[in-house]
């Protein structure tokens, strides 16, 4: 219990970009370990709050099947529906597309079961982002003359997730957040500056370049993934795995 309250205390101070909480983590015996614990506590809290928000959103929304039926019922009274009825083939295709769109929506609309995924995805997302940014930023900071150790960089950059505290507002339905990205960038800047004792200009470059490198890595990964997927798909089609006439 003390660890939880201490973690939230540190995150709350780190949110307001004061150097002290970052310096306190940097000077600990095992900064990365402490950062990991803080991050896990934050991630599970965010996931729990988001799940409550998802439940309330679901409970304050009408049933999707009822919405689908209502929309279709009224679409069928429209003049274009009558025109389309003259071509039964077109109507069949239209109804197939209509059903697929609602199938996709069923996956995207919050529900008590789909919301449970957040308990896995939120911690995973925060942990991967933390480790990747921490490693890239450490290399960048070293290039720019940083003096900190990797253990310290990971410890302080874990605190840069403090703006995620704002997601606690999403316990209510329909809440949209703004500014978490910018706030996180500022917190990362503070973490790098404190850990590596860099000037403001160098710390800014390290922060921006690290984020740029990660963005480029993601672009390359998605590009390679898309290329592999499309080549597998074309090979499957040309190899007769699918009936080409069905496309």
């Amino acid at each position: 219990m003390q660890t939880i309250s201490e973690s939230f205390g540190i995150l709350w101070e780190a949110l307001f970009l004061q150097p002290q909480p970052y310096a306190a983590i940097r000077d600990r015996k095992n900064p990365a370990g402490k950062g990991f614990v803080i991050l896990i506590i934050l991630a599970l809290t965010v996931a729990l709050v988001s799940y409550i928000g998802t439940l309330l959103t679901w409970a304050t929304s009408p049933d999707l099947n009822a919405i689908q039926e209502t929309v279709l019922k009224h679409l069928q009274t429209m003049s274009w529906w009558e025109m389309m009825s003259a071509q039964p083939q077109a109507q069949v295709v239209w109804l197939q597309i209509w059903d697929s769109v609602w199938q996709v929506m069923r996956l995207l609309i919050p529900s008590p079961t789909s919301g449970l995924m957040g308990f896995i995805l939120t911690p995973l997302n925060l942990l991967i982002t933390w480790i990747v940014f921490g490693l890239v930023a450490h290399v960048m900071a070293k290039i720019f003359g940083g003096k900190g150790q990797l253990n310290q960089t990971l410890g302080t950059t874990a605190l840069a997730a403090a703006p995620q505290l704002l997601t606690l507002f999403t316990v209510f339905p329909l809440v949209s957040l703004a500014g978490i990205g910018v706030w996180t960038m500022l917190a990362r800047y503070m973490a790098i500056r404190v850990t590596h004792n860099l000037s403001w200009g160098r710390a800014l470059w390290v922060t921006l370049l690290s984020m740029l490198v990660i963005f480029l890595l993601l672009v390359v990964m998605f590009g390679v993934g898309a290329a592999v997927f499309s080549s597998m798909l074309s090979a499957a089609i040309s190899g007769g795995f699918f009936d080409a006439n069905s496309f």
Binding site: F16, L17, Q18, P62, F169, P173, L174, L186
Partner: protein
């Protein structure tokens, strides 16, 4: 209470000592952020009331009638030709069907009773309206701070954001935004007053002269306007050349 009133009066009258005392206090960004949140929660309270009433009533037949009247008068002013074979009556019929979709969906049952649903959604909308300003405050602030640093400013990150958070104080006027005619005027006054507070905050946090603070504070806005103007003129130019080529 008297202290709070004196503080607000000092901020809105741009009293230098009020800003300097605030800058010298402890946890400037934390205090600034809490003032920012409090002001915008008060200022956007009418959003809560309006959304609560609207959600509780749902989309009524009167609302539908008002929209239909607007659509009919718009059709009379700007006659729109529909798809081939569609008469104006068909178009009006389709529009009515669309309105009926909205009315029926809005009145579909939800797992939670309607009053609770209306209350929760109103709170969510209210929170979004209030905290939506965080993004602008931080995003604009980062650019201003960068220009200020390049121009020799001496402000520290958290002190700068703490002081510029006072921009929220004149926005308390937005609480009257629901008033017809006077509401939009007061919103405009709050914007201009907020700009004056922002410039004062930049001047004091960066130790700039008045003129320099004005330039640095408005520079990002001028750049955005310049880019928008260039983009718009380029788009209009290419559109004009396309039209002349087509003729």
């Amino acid at each position: 209470m008297q202290t709070a009133f004196d503080f607000i009066r000092g901020v809105v009258t741009l009293d230098e000592q009020t800003y300097r005392d605030f800058l010298a206090s402890e946890n400037v960004m934390k205090r600034g952020f809490l003032i920012f949140l409090a002001c915008f929660f008060i200022a956007t309270f009418p959003v809560f009331g309006q959304t609560l009433i609207r959600n509780y009533q749902g989309f009524t037949a009167e609302d539908a009638l008002a929209i239909k009247d607007q659509y009919q008068s718009m059709l009379q002013m700007f006659p729109i030709s529909g798809a081939e074979g569609m008469s104006p009556e068909d178009m009006m019929g389709d529009f009515n069907a669309g309105i009926n979709i909205g009315v029926e969906i809005s009145n579909l049952p939800t797992p939670l009773p309607r009053p609770i649903m209306a209350f929760l959604q109103a709170v969510g909308t209210w929170i979004s309206a209030a905290i939506g300003n965080i993004g602008t405050w931080l995003g604009y602030g980062v650019i201003v701070l960068l220009f200020a640093k390049l121009a020799g400013g001496r402000g520290i990150l958290n002190l700068f954001f703490g002081l510029t958070a006072l921009v929220a104080v004149p926005n308390l006027l937005q609480i009257f935004s629901f008033l017809p005619f006077l509401g939009p005027v007061l919103i405009f006054v709050a914007f201009l007053w907020g700009a004056a507070v922002y410039i004062r905050a930049v001047q004091i946090s960066q130790e700039f002269s008045g003129g320099k603070a004005v330039v640095i504070s408005l520079l990002p806005l001028l750049i955005v306007l310049l880019i928008t103007a260039c983009t718009a003129s380029a788009a209009i130019g290419s559109l004009a050349s396309l039209i002349s080529q087509a003729q």
